[in-house]
């Protein structure tokens, strides 16, 4: 059967089997291997992508079901050449270790912050509760998401006060995000001290 959907803003059309799962379509047909695939049973959450602005486990969605809809993957997270603050947060706060769970975690984090710009620790943990990090260490993931939230709110406040233009805000956020660039950057913790 033929299926057409939008993936990261681009319309794609393919000839597929009805039984093809969205995760395999993205990885094998479109070469978007940022979406990982771990458990096959909707438990681990490494395959999380967005279907019409909502995170879903793409190992339990048929590619055909996404036909006519919008899919967004981790490859679509950055804006132009700028990393999304969520990506920047994971870099700065050591939110990834092996990186296997990271794309799914970041997609969930982005969706959370779009709905709730100032989440509590508990709200962040609840949002990622369907996703497993095999490297353990959820503390740094939570901290990464906080980092993104804090920076986005600060940027929004600066933009609202009229002090900076939108482009300047982005620049400022990126400057602050630069690990070499100062005290704003949370330090990563030693292994075992928190997990």
């Amino acid at each position: 059967m033929q299926v057409t959907m939008s993936v990261n803003g681009d319309e794609v059309t393919s000839e597929i089997e009805g039984r093809l799962l969205l995760v395999h379509y993205l990885r094998d047909h479109l070469g978007l291997t940022g979406t990982h695939w771990g458990c096959d049973t909707s438990n681990c959450g490494t395959c999380v992508v967005w279907l019409d602005d909502e995170p879903v486990k793409s190992c339990t969605v048929l590619a055909a079901m996404a036909g006519g809809h919008e899919v967004r993957t981790v490859e679509g997270l950055e804006k132009g050449t700028e990393l999304d603050p969520v990506q920047q947060g994971f870099m700065n706060c050591h939110g990834l270790q092996c990186g296997f769970c990271t794309p799914g975690m970041m997609m969930t984090a982005r969706a959370l912050l779009d709905r709730n710009p100032d989440p509590t620790d508990g709200e962040i943990r609840e949002a990622i509760s369907g996703q497993i990090c095999r490297c353990t260490g959820y503390a740094t993931i939570v901290r990464s998401i906080h980092w993104a939230a804090d920076h986005e709110r600060a940027a929004a406040a600066a933009a609202a006060s009229g002090a900076l233009t939108g482009d300047e805000v982005v620049e400022r956020v990126l400057e602050e995000a630069d690990p070499s660039g100062g005290s704003e950057t949370p330090q990563t913790v030693g292994a075992g001290s928190e997990s």
């Binding site: 096959d40 036909g67 369907g130």
Partner: protein, 292 residues
């Protein structure tokens, strides 16, 4: 890599279209809603089908939660997250939010539907236990019209319901009765897991006395079970720890758990007892305004 065996995919554009497809394609066809129970079963070859009829486009038609004076009507395509976030449901039936908080995880809840949960008829299904507790009515449609069945009639056995091959569950109705409240308690092995045992309770008070009560259990028998003996024992009682204890004892005796990886028969009976007490205690506290 686990993938389902080959099948043909069809997409329904309306309820009538879906029913027409079911009629035309016959018993080798099945509806797929959220897919979060059916697709895993197909991957494991526990279900093999010739046709899958995708009903996700019917969310506009069947995704409603409508409050009426004497009942709340919920469309079969209402998703877990919508049930969780509905303030109307939480105000009338706090049991729904209690249960939704502990069903799977937020991402699974973005997809799974009320209709899929009930039609899956898994004996551990939390929403089935909730609907049993609330004496929900299920509206089933076919090309010859609609019929309404109680939860007892709806659940024929594990994974078996009153919905025939050429029919579709379109709506669930929760009756509103004054003076009542409800609660849900679940024990699971880890966050987002199926219940080891769970218990729902709904109580109605009149002049400080329990005028009616219902308890529904999941994961301790072939179906989610409404325990009539508990209702009988509680009617006319003043709410008290003794009343909850006797209800818990009845629940533990009347359920039919089996031993498995989640626990022994004794442990599950113990949970049925304790969770029944907790759910009743909380439902009463809510009905009397002591807890929200």
């Amino acid at each position: 890599m686990q993938v389902p065996a080959p099948f043909d995919y069809e997409r329904a554009t309306s309820v009538d279209h879906a029913i027409g497809l079911l009629e035309r394609l016959g018993s080798g066809s099945r509806l797929v809603a959220g897919g979060h129970s059916l697709l895993p079963m197909m991957k494991l070859r526990l279900a093999n089908l010739e046709y899958l009829i995708d009903i996700n486009d019917l969310h506009d038609e069947l995704g409603y939660i409508t409050v009426e004076p004497t009942r709340i009507r919920i469309g079969a395509m209402a998703r877990h997250r919508e049930l969780l976030e509905s303030d109307d449901l939480a105000a009338h039936f706090p049991i729904v939010r209690d249960a939704e908080r502990v069903i799977a995880d937020p991402i699974v809840r973005n997809r799974g539907t009320l209709g899929g949960s009930l039609c899956q008829a898994d004996p551990s299904e939390d929403l089935s236990a909730v609907c049993t507790t609330l004496a929900a009515e299920c509206v089933i449609r076919s090309s010859s019209g609609e019929r309404v069945v109680t939860m007892d009639e709806f659940h024929r056995g594990p994974y078996e319901t009153a919905v025939a091959d050429d029919e579709m569950l379109v709506e669930v109705r929760l009756p509103i009765r004054p003076g009542g409240s409800s609660a849900y308690e679940k024990v699971e092995r880890r966050a987002g897991d199926w219940a080891v045992v769970s218990a729902g309770a709904a109580v109605w008070l009149d002049g400080g006395v329990i005028s009616d009560a219902r308890v529904g259990l999941a994961a301790v028998g072939p179906n989610t079970t409404g325990i009539a003996a508990v209702s009988q024992a509680l009617r006319g009682q003043v709410p008290s720890e003794e009343a909850y204890a006797s209800a818990g004892a009845i629940a533990a005796q009347s359920c039919r758990p089996t031993a498995d990886g989640r626990g022994s028969v004794e442990y599950k009976r113990h949970l049925a007892d304790e969770l029944t007490r907790r759910a009743l205690r909380r439902a009463v506290a809510r009905a009397t305004g002591e807890e929200s």
